[in-house]
Symmetry: D2
Subunit: 340 residues, 4 copies
């Protein structure tokens, strides 16, 4: 038996996404986004974000991040991002290769940067005359640590970025979880808060490969389409990405699955800490829980078939990461708790 909290990208796709893929698997459609479905789904994004946005589909979240950073790159520039950011830790120095810029990690609390930490980090850079500009502020929402920024928190950070001349990017690989957790609207979490570019993820929340760059002020980044094609990130049979997003966005399916994943994590967190065998350094609001438990316990759980990542070992304790998704069931949670 396997209980799987390995990652939300270990899940499959939702039945709705699978059905949508089957539905468009017929006939012919112009390639590289010239198809009708792409046009229709782009309108859905405009509805979700309550304004005209430009949307560029890609197959991976790293692609979305790299292209957003590249679009904002400036010579000798810097990117401020969280020290837990996916693009800092998990993208194999793609940001440096694509932009020639330096990433400057900002200390986080429960995965979140605070305005004070931004200022503190900026203070460690050489004075402005002796270096290039701060080109980009990148914020991950939901964070890599199972937490989310509210719209007003995003706005506070974005204001710092803007005051320094930086473009503001949000890595929203788990954007749905942030919307579901905060109750703030996509518009409030992005352009109304001062965000310029969003990596909008579908893959971790029930698509099988569907990511979008959402350009919140389309006129500001006219070269993104060329950047995408140049990097080999234009998908020829793009209707298959569009179809996933159609299923994803229709009837708020994306929020339903994200709400479910968040709820599963909350239930897990509550139960885990109920009897004190396990503790949490912070409470999750999205779909990741980081319990600290005796290493012997973690080892026993793995031996019993539970799958999850180890995050940190300190002394005879281990912090592990449990990720829920649309596919997580109450039974999964119960079985895991029973094992524990």
């Amino acid at each position: 038996m396997t209980i799987d909290f390995g990652s939300d990208n270990w899940s499959a796709a939702t039945p709705a996404v699978e059905a949508a893929l089957s539905r468009v698997n017929t006939g012919y459609a112009p390639s590289y986004g010239e198809d009708e479905l792409t046009a229709r789904v782009s309108r859905l994004f405009c509805d979700v974000f309550e304004r005209e946005v430009a949307v560029l589909f890609v197959a991976t979240g790293t692609a979305a991040n790299l292209l957003c950073l590249q679009a904002t790159a400036r010579p000798s520039g810097f990117v401020l991002c969280s020290d837990q950011a996916h693009l800092y830790n998990d993208e194999f120095n793609g940001p440096e290769f694509f932009t020639g810029m330096r990433l400057v990690p900002v200390a986080t609390t429960a995965g979140r940067m605070r305005a004070a930490a931004l200022h503190e980090t900026l203070g460690t850079l050489p004075p402005a005359g002796d270096r290039g500009p701060l080109a980009t502020l990148s914020i991950t929402n939901a964070t890599e640590y199972g937490t989310a920024y509210t719209a007003s928190e995003i706005a506070e950070l974005a204001a710092v970025g803007a005051s320094l001349g930086a473009a503001v990017h949000v890595d929203g690989a788990r954007f749905a979880n942030a919307v579901a957790a905060t109750g703030d609207s996509p518009a409030d979490l992005t352009w109304r808060a001062g965000v310029d570019l969003l990596s909008f993820g579908g893959t971790k929340n029930g698509c099988w490969a569907a990511e979008a760059i959402v350009v919140l002020d389309p006129a500001a980044y006219p070269d993104l389409s060329h950047l995408r094609q140049r990097a080999g990130h234009g998908i020829s049979k793009q209707r298959f990405i569009a179809a996933q997003f159609e299923a994803y966005l229709t009837d708020d399916a994306w929020l339903t699955t994200a709400t479910h994943a968040n709820a599963m994590a909350a239930r897990l967190a509550a139960a885990l800490t109920a009897d004190g065998a396990v503790r949490l350094e912070w409470a999750p609001t999205t779909n990741e829980v980081f319990p600290i438990m005796p290493t012997t316990t973690a080892t026993r759980l793995r031996a019993a078939g539970a799958r999850f990542h180890s995050w940190r070992v300190r002394g005879d304790e281990e912090m592990v990461r449990l990720v829920t998704s649309f596919a997580t069931t109450d039974e999964d949670v119960d079985e895991f708790l029973a094992l524990l």
Copy 2:
């Protein structure tokens, strides 16, 4: 009514590919290629190529090409490729961005480079001491012009490349069509002929997004996996690429669909030229036909609902491109001929 010869990437996916995608759409699997299906399908590639090969899945043919070129890049280096090559004409200068090298186009006959043309092109470069090395020879097989190289033709070109110290890459976006057309084996068309790296395409021949970099001598290119991740071309739910390839390669499905596409093109070519209203500058052996017809005829066909690309207009004549695929039916051909 629409008769569609627009492109083989305007087609959908085969039922077998769709079924395979549905089959793996369940449960959990480790991401980024750590899943069992990826391992199993990699073995299939070794069987197809009759040797140990390394396989890296990506979502686009351009990605495969760019990463192969990047793996072979050398400072101040040059890439020789056909003047009709996709990577020369249709990849938005991605090769220059990814490699810093210059592409040098070689004149072609019916889409094919000949050894003499390679030598002639080399003669136009500055002498070896005044420039960087020839790093890469890239050959498209099947070509962009509906023709294919035999194994011995590939070997002849590869020998020129090797004699100059160049790595040899084959852009096989339509590799299946080349195998089907020549009857030569994948091994004979690649490593036995001196090819180092292959972009192996599935998308144009019945997958919806499945491309692979086949490293024919795995020890020679150890950095490819990092190159792929760095460029955002690692797919998190990679089993969905692997599943497509499993359906594609099992029971020679890929050769069945390619053989069908080639046959449809041959039938089209034969019928088109039968009554002399249309002529061909070269006979297709794979799945693209380039008839030359009066512009009035082309215009009339489009108005009647036929879709295809215009390639060249000269005087009152137009060369158009008709692409067949696994999805092309005898009825499509008949209807087109009837329209004509």
Copy 3:
């Protein structure tokens, strides 16, 4: 004995330049262009160009070219340049590495592009929707072939570039020779003709290493200083570059040396063709002569100690390149003619 027509960069520096270098070789001066001499010499450039310009000193002409191209780069972009351009033939694919763009060579007559050739070359590119933008038009003046463009010729080419949205760059490694040959002013040959960026050379005309990027509209390229520093092209003891340029520009010394070099070439060309043993395909107006002579003659001249580059061998004839400089004397010319 050696008669040296190898290249104008085989010459030494003028006594005035040497004296200026000695004069500043004392005391201390702030580094990286913060010194007073740099400020003063920048004013000289404004005088020469009859407007406010920004000036960035570098040590090589290739550096100037690369940084100008980089400043004008656009994703998936193209650079149009002469098929004889130094940056196309002699810069080791630095333009591709620095910009990620493709260089498109334009056919030349006696080293000069014509507007018709620009249009013809543009016609060979894919249609605008299928490729990136034309980012840059680069014109070499004086050309690599001993000829120069007049201000009106530059304006005609620049107008074509501008109509396509391209920035206009002039590689002026031999700009002095062009000014001397045409009698047109630096302003007329650049910004009044629509030029945006100029690589202004001193090295080939009597400095030992002094090149400048002249930004004709300083507000348009604010990142150039960062581009220069990032590429390691900022000179710490920059006063030594500034000193060369002070000597170079004062009292029109640069035009005096260029006029002399041009005159020596003219004298050489006239004498060479006087008795018909040698012929010229075009008449030089600057400081390079390309006589065509029997190979036996060229071989004999070399054996007798004359140094020059071979340009083209065809049948039993050889086109050679003879380059004059400020250092060429009447005696050098006479001795060469006597040898001949």
Copy 4:
């Protein structure tokens, strides 16, 4: 009156260097390093390093560093360097642009990294499977903080680098000061200690623009010459760089000037701390002194005409940097002390 401790690159060139430049300022010489003087001076380097080395001249120390890093670059790779390294703090993110790699700063004590700190820093990276390789270890010797590594200290660090598969680079912008301070030979400080590539500086120690990349195992980096040309760092009239180095290396002139500069710094340090008005956190052994003094004192010194950089202000104290050079005189030191 000015007392100048601003930087060793605010100095002029030594009379010997000036004389050498004048001496070669005659006649003609092949360009781009094909001249006899370059060949002769390359032999001098072999003598200094007691083995066959390859030498590539460039005009700036940043160029030397960038090209060395680029020669050692690997996809997704990392560079370990001191958190005070010039290439980390003062090269405008050129390393990121040239290599696509990430720089990881290592904590220092008095400007020096220790093996323990290397290991500690490595421990902060993701595990080896989740990231690219450690490509390069870069060590600055003499350091940016007026200290130097001995040969055995270099060997200890290099051994850590080598054990991780990294190439070892030394930024020797002040290499002469390190040799003079430690008494260790150039060979012992480099290849015998496991160093692969050296940026060998002349500019800060009495040249006006002369830097060299010393390839300690020439066969290992065959592409460096192309890297240099491609980046515009090949100097056409290279004899003028070679001439500086000939004067620099002949009769150990470079060690004489460095010994002098070091001695001036030692004298300054000793006198500064004699009466307790000023303190040092570490004792200099090369040519930079970092006294901590009341801000009022620093302000008063500047007002009196002393030039130096401010390094750190904390409370009402200021750490300043005083740099000596070949040009510093006993009188300069005395006057500064008198002012104080």
